[in-house]
Symmetry: C2
Subunit: 413 residues, 2 copies
């Protein structure tokens, strides 16, 4: 009973198949672990390098096969995989999955179900592609209390921002390039509006804090509104734009969590994490800051993370995830606690709008670093609360529709 | 039989004791794992927070105690710890150590001895302080062939270089500050001449390549010769100085390994790893580059790594290190393969030396980016081999004694 069932044969599934089968004399061959069946939508379609007799379009062919003790779920479909994963655990099969939607919504339930049935579920590939961040968190919380998670968790949007910066292109242009390269989806919403990232932040934060951090408590702003002029202005001010996921646990048992475009100093490590690379930093009370950097997207990186989990299950060298508790109850304090400098851009049509903008700015903010170019006012504020900034932008929006702001994070590694 | 023996009660030992004892309701209390005895040089001297009856100055009190199943070796002494570790393994006790000298010299022997006796030896804290790099390498090589290791592996010298850069101080000044802060040893040789780093590089490279990479095959240059003028010149050319450990495995089964001062571009991640932080990057054929960043020195970080290993032993969730083989035989190709741009500084006393220097440079190197200030010629060369550069500097040393050069690494993340 050491056969593997693979759900999904898309990009990641093919990558997993290749790693398991195509390296000779490796772990899988030595131990005679094999992929016995593969669930696909159309079993009659031929796939290069994969024997047709492995393919099936019926999940029960895999779930009800007693020889299969491990399911790899990499279809990327919530509707198809969630019931299949539950059923697999109930049938005492181990599960390895890359599906962040399922894990972010049902981590606690699925870990409990695994425990009940004496098996395990691992999901390293659900966050940060090839970066072994989840195992590192599990190791770290055995000794530390983690109070902060911060990271660039989406390869597509980091690629877009990097390319905008390097090649001086506007957002939509680069998005189109990324789509043509197959690097961004035809419908890019999940990536560019932060849903993908906030799911990952839910998973990481819940593990770090031992409390379920609800996706709804993560303040999320799209990255779409960053223009080339913003990137150039930020550069002049000494900053770089990144699409940052962050959560922090405060001493009074409240937390704040956000996915927002931010500006960070050029001389930080994080500002130089470019292209498809992801970075995740955690902060423990004893260990201090640990950061992990690697490819956050792509067939190989994700498949590598999946197969690493598979090996852990098969060698039983599993960090016991199923003992994890999410008993702590922390309340979201929203973004109230954030007090930061802000970057602000106001597009103006004429002198009247300019005068009104300047008037509002100087009446509300004491120290301002301001510049003007091509019908746009750019400025860096003093330290302000998010609330204050939001109110200020409301006021400015009565002058002109095109107002954009972003937090500045100064104390980042 | 679940008691722990601690060899050493210096900075790291005290840190380990505190983590194990002072967090209430944690892993050690819950499972009733306790430190039973502590080996110190002078058992009569009182130590704050540590009961006197735990102390002994006789290693056999610990090694011959059947109740003690795990030895933590953190004395930092080769002579005392090497026989103790061997004896502990022979007596079927597990060992966790931070001693990089012992591990770099005897990793293969000690892993074999552990295997023979059905126990294990873990040594995460021997490299990179709190960074979980060894576990990550062991995980990565299960799937990948690693062909490169690169990193900043010494907190003391990274602190010195960072402080020289930020505060415009010379090497000796900062070294003195670091010594006064207890951050550098009174005899700084091991740190600043690269012996500490080359031991760590031996450990990492041997694990990555499955071959014993002898310390003698690591080309090592001191970091002492970097002056403030070098740092400022590098800055003008767009670079930052780092003390870099690197090894690379080539397709023809040769390897090159070095510990040298290098210049890297300001817009890289690595150039912004400052102060006591370490970074380690590995390159796998499937996963691509993975980088790990954290505190490389200090009581807490190192103690955290030691205790993490202890927990792995006690929960038996050990990655099986004892199966590791070092069977591959790779030959060192020295630094022959390196072909890089170089930074060169030549200090000159007068016009004659200046003319001679310029003459030698332009007769030997085609494209040069050169500047002159305060009796010093600074330049960046074309791509050259290390051999060529070494010969050139020999020639220049007939003109003036004060010649310094360093490689430029352009393709670093």
């Amino acid at each position: 009973m050491s056969k593997i069932g693979l759900l999904g044969c898309g990009t990641v599934g093919t990558g997993v198949y290749e790693i398991i089968n195509e390296r000779k004399g490796n772990f899988f061959e030595e131990n005679n672990y094999k992929i016995k069946k593969i669930l696909v939508r159309d079993a009659s379609r031929k796939r290069e390098g994969i024997p047709g007799e492995l393919l099936t379009d019926n999940p029960d062919d895999i779930l009800n096969d007693d020889e299969i003790s491990l399911i790899i779920a990499v279809m990327g479909s919530y509707e198809q995989e969630y019931p299949a994963i539950k059923k697999a655990l109930q049938l005492k099969k181990n599960v390895v999955t890359a599906n962040k939607e399922i894990i972010s919504k049902h981590m606690e339930e699925l870990l409990g179900l695994a425990k009940e049935n004496g098996v395990t579920i691992l999901f390293e590939a659900s966050v940060g592609g090839g970066i072994p961040i989840i195992e590192s968190i599990i190791d770290t919380i055995k000794i530390n209390k983690i109070n902060k998670v911060q990271g660039i968790l989406n390869g597509t949007t980091n690629f877009i921002l990097s390319k905008m910066t390097k090649e001086e292109l506007d957002f939509d242009e680069v998005l189109k390039v990324a789509q043509d390269m197959g690097f961004a989806e035809a419908d890019p919403t999940a990536d560019v509006d932060g849903f993908d990232i906030s799911r990952k932040l839910t998973i990481l934060s819940s593990l770090c804090y031992g409390a379920y951090i609800d996706n709804d408590d993560i303040y999320t702003r799209t990255v779409r509104n960053i223009t080339l002029s913003d990137i150039q202005a930020a550069d002049d001010f000494g900053y770089v734009f990144k699409y940052m996921a962050e959560s922090e646990l405060y001493d009074d048992n409240t937390f704040g969590a956000s996915v927002t475009p931010v500006l960070i100093g050029k001389d930080s490590v994080t500002s130089n994490v470019n292209d498809e690379y992801n970075v995740v930093s955690i902060n423990g009370n004893i260990i201090g800051q640990l950061s992990f950097l690697g490819r956050g997207a792509g067939k190989e990186a994700t498949a590598n993370a999946v197969v690493a989990d598979v090996i852990k299950v098969l060698t039983k060298s599993v960090h016991d995830y199923t003992h994890l508790k999410f008993e702590n109850e922390y309340k979201s304090c929203g973004i109230e606690r954030y007090k930061n400098k802000f970057y602000l851009r106001v597009s103006i049509k004429d002198e009247v709008e300019f005068a009104k903008t300047i008037d509002i700015v100087y009446r509300n903010i004491e120290n301002v670093n301001l510049s003007y170019e091509d019908g746009k006012v750019f400025l860096i504020t003093d330290e302000l609360t998010g609330e204050f900034m939001s109110t200020l932008c409301d006021r400015l929006s009565h002058v002109t529709e095109d107002v954009f702001y972003a937090r500045i994070i100064d104390n980042i590694l």
